[in-house]
């Protein structure tokens, strides 16, 4: 059974069909990409998966469970984490507190236990800090743990967003243009990082990306959207050769 499946998902904003009749499945542990020209509805697909928008028609199941009626935070709690196209960190919080937010959903200590801070609370808290330090260490950001998130450099902000999403312990990670604004060296590092994440955490990753080198370099399967419709799907080589895809990006050939 596939991890995530979209069945005939359609989203209309007034008269505009942002995504039309999209049917697609994503497997456990797969590394897939969604590409398409600007305005093709890629981010809208992410938004509908994470519950920011409800689909006008169609259904979405995650691990066999219907997630359409769930609120965004509930979807996060069933195991879908994401990053954003325009970085959305908690700027006024430190790096480690940004990650600590992720532990919020499965914290056993409620409001009053968190005020009293005795007994189990301390053990729980110690455990969170261990996990935070471990994650930061893995991504080489341990020395920045007490830095304000808004004071980090661009690359670190992108990285922190990914770390923060991983702290939610997702089964599926959605990356929205992770390579945006990066230079070629940083992009190389990012590709390594994404593969590393998939292999160490054993999770499925879907990424939206404009940089073809990145997408073609790491994705096993690519879905191409144009005007909200799926025009092609397949391995990087298949997609590259697909005339419809070439047409979407470069326009119709004139004879």
């Amino acid at each position: 059974m596939s991890l995530l499946s979209l069945n005939n998902v359609t989203i209309r904003f007034g008269g505009l069909t942002a995504v039309g009749n999209l049917t697609e499945t994503f497997e456990q542990g797969s590394l897939s990409g969604i590409i398409g020209p600007n305005g093709a509805g890629k981010t809208t697909v992410f938004n509908v998966i994470t519950g920011v928008y409800d689909p006008t028609e169609g259904g979405i199941t995650f691990g066999g469970r219907d997630i359409v009626p769930l609120k965004p935070y509930q979807i996060a709690n069933v195991g879908i984490a994401r990053t954003f196209q325009n970085i959305r960190l908690f700027g006024g919080m430190t790096v480690s507190d940004n990650i600590r937010v992720a532990f919020n959903n499965n914290a056993k200590s409620g409001l009053f236990a968190s005020v009293v801070q005795l007994f189990n609370y301390q053990r729980e808290e110690e455990n969170y800090h261990k996990q935070i330090d471990h994650l930061l260490d893995m991504f080489g950001m341990l020395d920045k743990r007490n830095e304000m998130a808004k004071n980090l450099n661009y690359g670190d902000q992108r990285r922190l967003e990914i770390v923060r999403a991983l702290a939610c312990k997702p089964k599926l990670l959605l990356l929205d243009e992770p390579a945006a604004g990066m230079n070629p060296t940083e992009k190389q590092e990012l590709m390594k990082l994404i593969r590393y994440i998939r292999d160490t955490f054993n999770i499925a990753i879907i990424l939206i990306e404009h940089d073809m080198k990145v997408v073609m370099g790491i994705c096993e399967r690519i879905t191409v959207l144009d005007y909200g419709h799926k025009i092609a799907v397949g391995t990087p080589d298949e997609v590259k050769a697909n005339p419809k895809v070439i047409e979407a990006y470069l326009g119709e050939p004139t004879h």
Partner: protein, 333 residues
């Protein structure tokens, strides 16, 4: 262990200060007493509003409304309900019990109303929420004004003076402890996440609805308690005491102190309560500041905001500054 004990030591210190102030207060004149009392009450109001405005980022302009609910609730309890329950309490040790129960009663009613106000905050943000909460504060005031059994615009007079310095500063200590502990905890990071980015918070599994309503409920509860203390000190409460200007006064304390900085807000509450009174008797080169003290007060506000727009204590990363951040667990390689 030290980490666990430290906040409790601070709480204990706060309570000792409350005792100290209580002992000291008997010797000073009523005018100074009133200033110190107002400082304490404003500290509670500002610290509780800081949870809503500063930590959770929900701009509320209706804090005086919550205060009035608590003030009326507590006054009704001690003047009407308590005598039936506890008998004649004035002057006996039981008056503290009556006050405590009154404060709790007022605070709980205020918290319940806080749920009502919290609900629109789920759909509105920023300026729109500010207008709704402003409207709420005014509605409360007008409703109270039009209930004859609450004294209409004359208010309730002859409320017993149960509030002591100890009670006020004891509750300041409790509020500070509560808010500091909460906002430092993992659970409490949800409030800050809602403030910084609601969409990202939801995507991280934070139930933003619950946090927003909780912020309003906790803030309203403590504002209600502050109202109860005010009523039992002033002996008279009128709807006009809890108007829009009172809300603005509290907002100014929060903004000046630094949104989300509890100690900054406490400092600002003390400063802004004391300065107008200080200027009353201030003389420079034979010029008496009394008549234009409010202009000076406003001028001070303008200068402070121009020089420190983030608030007196705002935007300071104390963790980094004092290098008291926890030692790393896995160590720097």
């Amino acid at each position: 262990m030290n980490k666990v004990a430290r906040p409790y030591l601070f709480l204990l210190l706060g309570i000792i200060i409350a005792f100290g102030l209580s002992a000291w207060a008997d010797g000073i004149n009523p005018y100074d007493q009133r200033i110190v009392m107002s400082i304490g009450i404003n500290m509670i109001l500002a610290a509780s509003l800081n949870l809503i405005n500063g930590f959770t980022g929900q701009f509320s302009l209706g804090h005086a409304g919550f205060m009035s609910i608590g003030a009326y609730g507590a006054a009704i309890f001690t003047t009407m309900i308590a005598p039936g329950m506890l008998g004649e309490v004035a002057g006996t040790g039981m008056q503290d019990v009556a006050l405590f129960m009154g404060l709790l009663f007022g605070g709980i009613i205020s918290a319940l109303i806080g749920v009502l106000v919290g609900i629109p905050s789920l759909r509105l943000k920023g300026d729109y929420l500010a207008i709704v909460t402003l409207g709420f504060g005014e509605i409360i005031r007008v409703i109270i004004q039009n209930i004859p059994s609450l004294g209409g615009s004359l208010g309730i007079a002859n409320i017993p003076r149960y509030t002591t310095f100890f009670w006020v500063f004891f509750i300041v200590a409790i509020v500070v402890f509560f808010i500091q502990q909460l906002t430092k905890s993992t659970y409490g990071q949800g409030f800050l996440a809602v403030r910084d980015d609601e969409i990202a918070a939801e995507a991280m599994g934070v139930n933003t609805t619950r946090y927003k309503v909780e912020a309003f409920v906790i803030g309203a509860f403590f504002a209600g308690v502050a109202g109860g203390l005010y009523g039992h000190y002033n002996e008279l409460i009128r709807p006009a005491d809890f108007d829009f200007l009172k809300s603005v006064e509290i907002i100014v304390m929060v903004i000046l102190g630094g949104m989300g900085s509890t100690y900054g807000v406490l400092f600002a509450a003390a400063l802004l309560t004391y300065v107008p009174e200080f200027l009353r008797g201030f003389e420079l080169f034979g010029v008496k500041f009394d008549s234009f003290r409010m202009s000076i007060y406003s001028l001070i506000l303008i200068i402070l905001m121009l020089t420190r727009p983030q608030g007196l204590f705002g935007g300071i990363n104390f963790k980094k500054l004092m290098k008291v951040g926890r030692k790393s667990v896995v160590g720097n390689q």
